[in-house]
């Protein structure tokens, strides 16, 4: 349901070729970058972006611009961007807010097509900051360059060994792209996303908004998924169109904050964002196939799930469990989020039934406890998992495993079995490892195969339900024409 008059848009592989070089410099590693304004010190605690670039092995040329200091981090500086004696692809500006419009103008004069403005104190701050941000946009238009920010860490591109961020960061080539409006996702990538190969922090999004980063990351073959954090969506109908197209290619998991009145108000003083009406955001996400999450931990689970697991093609879940109580918790959780207990056939559970006491009816959840007490965990878990995965009524499996201390662990662990079985079926297996060694066992599980460890049963169910909903959206969307304009 796009507004009339918007011209159809097609993603094509050489998208960047028809875009300005400005975007190429932002989203690929620039051949030459200038940092204008940066800490005099380097090393621990200095927040000097040059430290990150050196640690990351940046392969381009680096220019440091500082009016007062001759040398930073062992590199000679120049006094102004004009004095740099070669062409520069990207400038990262961290100077007092009053100076930024002027510096943007100087960058334009130098022929720079892309600028990241990191400092705060703009539209999110006061009316003077709002005025300065307006001037930044004007200078950018006049000088034909693109601005990311202000109030941003910029870009982080682990694949191409480039980051503009001044926050200490590890380089980590996970196939996860992140577009956000806060540095928290850059620094917290490990616990919010399980790692981030490519990150774009839009900050106040005065010029560059969600549209182009989403297009770009949607085309990057190194990414399996895009995670998105927005305080406000800009880009209107065009953004919806792009989001719908990108969602057909790869999942876009979105955390849209400022849902509540207090949160929305706070967004104006954080990134200067107008959060917008939440139910409209909801509807837009549904339409475009974006997967909305309410909580940060659900985002983490989805990112990890989409990266690691085979696709969840329907919403029917089989449970293989050594705890009946866990099975009930899972059934409650399915009911709460629209997943369905798979109607596992009597055939599919026949072998587990045969290993179980005669008085025990086996169904879904497949309770393997009495069987494994008699026949051992490895044998029973292998049979139960394989038979469930083979059943046509099953789209994915949640498995409950033990995480005991050694040497008991060796007797009751099904980790090896799960890893092996996970490679034989194109269906997701999510595993809750419980017991005193749950963290170590979860890490061990993910060393091989493609099952995924989850920290709670309920989160496992929500993950599979959302993965299934995405696939369903794709099936429906796949039958529609690509552009509805």
């Amino acid at each position: 349901m796009l507004r009339r008059g918007i011209k159809p848009f097609t993603l094509h592989k050489d998208w960047w070729a028809v875009k300005k070089n400005s975007l190429k410099s932002l989203f690929l590693s620039p051949a030459s970058v200038a940092f204008i304004g940066l800490p005099r010190r380097s090393g621990p605690g200095s927040l000097n972006p040059v430290d990150n670039l050196m640690r990351w092995g940046y392969k381009g040329r680096l220019h440091l611009v500082h009016p007062h200091v001759r040398e930073i981090a062992g590199l000679q500086t120049v006094k102004s961007i004009a004095s740099v004696n070669e062409s520069v692809d990207l400038a990262v500006v961290s100077t007092p807010r009053e100076t930024v419009p002027r510096i943007i103008r100087e960058c334009a004069q130098k022929g720079i097509r892309a600028v990241i403005v990191t400092n705060q104190g703009f539209v999110e701050a006061d009316s003077k900051g709002g005025e300065l941000q307006k001037q930044i946009v004007e200078e950018a238009r006049r000088g034909d360059l693109r601005v990311m920010g202000p109030n941003t860490l910029g870009v982080s591109n682990a694949f191409d060994c480039f980051t503009s961020s001044f926050m200490p960061a590890e380089r980590n080539e996970t196939p996860v792209g992140m577009i956000c409006q806060s540095g928290v996702f850059f620094v917290g990538a490990a616990n919010l996303l399980g790692g981030m190969g490519m990150g774009v922090d839009l900050g106040n999004a005065c010029d560059l908004g969600f549209l182009e980063p989403l297009e770009w990351l949607g085309l990057d073959p190194r990414l399996k998924l895009i995670a998105l954090h927005a305080e406000a969506f800009t880009g209107g109908a065009r953004l919806l169109e792009v989001a719908g197209k990108v969602s057909r290619r790869l999942p876009v998991v979105a955390l849209k904050t400022g849902r509540s009145p207090a949160g929305a108000k706070a967004a104006t003083t954080h990134s200067g964002s107008m959060a917008g009406e939440d139910r409209i955001v909801d509807a837009a996400m549904l339409k475009t196939g974006m997967i909305r999450v309410d909580e940060t931990e659900d985002m983490l689970d989805l990112v990890r799930g989409f990266v690691r697991l085979p696709r969840m093609l329907g919403r029917r879940i089989a449970v293989v469990t050594l705890t009946g109580a866990g099975g009930i918790i899972l059934l409650d959780a399915m009911d709460a989020c629209g997943a369905t207990p798979a109607a596992v056939s009597a055939d599919a559970v026949k072998r587990v039934q045969d290993l179980s006491p005669s008085w025990m009816p086996i169904g879904n959840p497949v309770d393997i406890w009495p069987a494994l007490m008699k026949h051992g965990m490895q044998k029973v878990c292998r049979i139960a998992l394989q038979d469930a995965l083979r059943d046509l009524s099953v789209d994915g499996v949640i498995c409950v495993a033990l995480a005991l201390e050694p040497p008991d662990h060796d007797h009751f662990s099904a980790i090896g079995v799960i890893q092996e079985v996970s490679l034989k079926f194109d269906k997701p297996i999510v595993v809750w490892c419980y017991g005193p060694r749950f963290l170590e066992t979860a890490a061990l599980l993910e060393e091989h195969g493609r099952a995924m460890a989850i920290s709670s049963l309920e989160r496992g169910v929500r993950l599979l339900a959302r993965m299934a909903r995405y696939e369903q959206w794709k099936r429906v969307a796949g039958q529609e024409p690509e552009c509805s304009a």
Copy 2:
């Protein structure tokens, strides 16, 4: 609103003295225990309960009853309970289901007043199992003894070094009591509760239900909290009365499963439970001050929170954060669960305001990023935390901290400061540590002081909101007469 005719009930300190010794043998370490039926093997993988008792340093006398084997785990066995040559306080029965009624009778003849029946195959299984369970109850009544189970791991009492459980377990004297209907909480105590000092698994609850364990644990001065997992509540109005009384003493956190139709149906084949109508359960919990959680991770957070944190006396939360986006996520989360952003006074944030750029308005969330960039994390975090905690409008604080790799960590860590400040104020501080070293940093934080690390911002808010709701219930309940009968 209790039924007429129920006689008022008062908990008193010597409650156990007026109860039968049967309960004493169950809930304190028995002076003499007999295991009737147990694995021939011992050691890793054998699930031999004697291994646990030896590891735990059980101080009472141990009798092993086995008809065919002369020695188990280095201990001589006897052929029947009748052959034990001294009085026995507690019998733990793990024999084929058909034999259990007869063995109960033999136990009664031996003068045993308490029996734990571990095996499965009773009312949760088939009609024959139901019949056998009925016989167990009849034998118990006739023999004047109490039965826990069947289908249970029994009791686990780390303080008194006794466990009847055959699942490998570490002894862990945390002040957490657990009453449950599944072994999953015994084995999974670490990841479901953060440890368990005392546990009672009711299994099918054929005789002993929630009532007496709740009374007993509610009186145990070693416990700070009771966690409860129920598939069905038995005990009716009397249980409500006891729950209300216990809740006045210490928090009762309850996970009632079988909420959904599928879950309720599964409960009948797990513990033979009739889950009951969920909204009635809800109403009963509200009335009695029990804190209902929907998800296992919320239970973990509440258990850890009540053990570690000062009380949360109201629902007004102040946020001290170095990420504005995190502040917005927190405001959204407060809105979703009935917590309130504290109306922090201008006075309370004056010192942070003075350290911040003039263009930056400081409120709640207290955004300390620009201030700490200039004045250092330790200094700014200390001021912000103290001033927020001192403010009369603040009941508790959520603090966002960094978890970087060393040596950067040393410059940006506020762990020491938070630990120190947490000891000066009787208000809870919940800390989200984000960055690549979040697990290590969280563990470090909890080594000293009484702030608590949390794995997500949203969970931190829910925790404080629920802790506040409990205190509110206590205030209201405190004005009512103790017994409403």
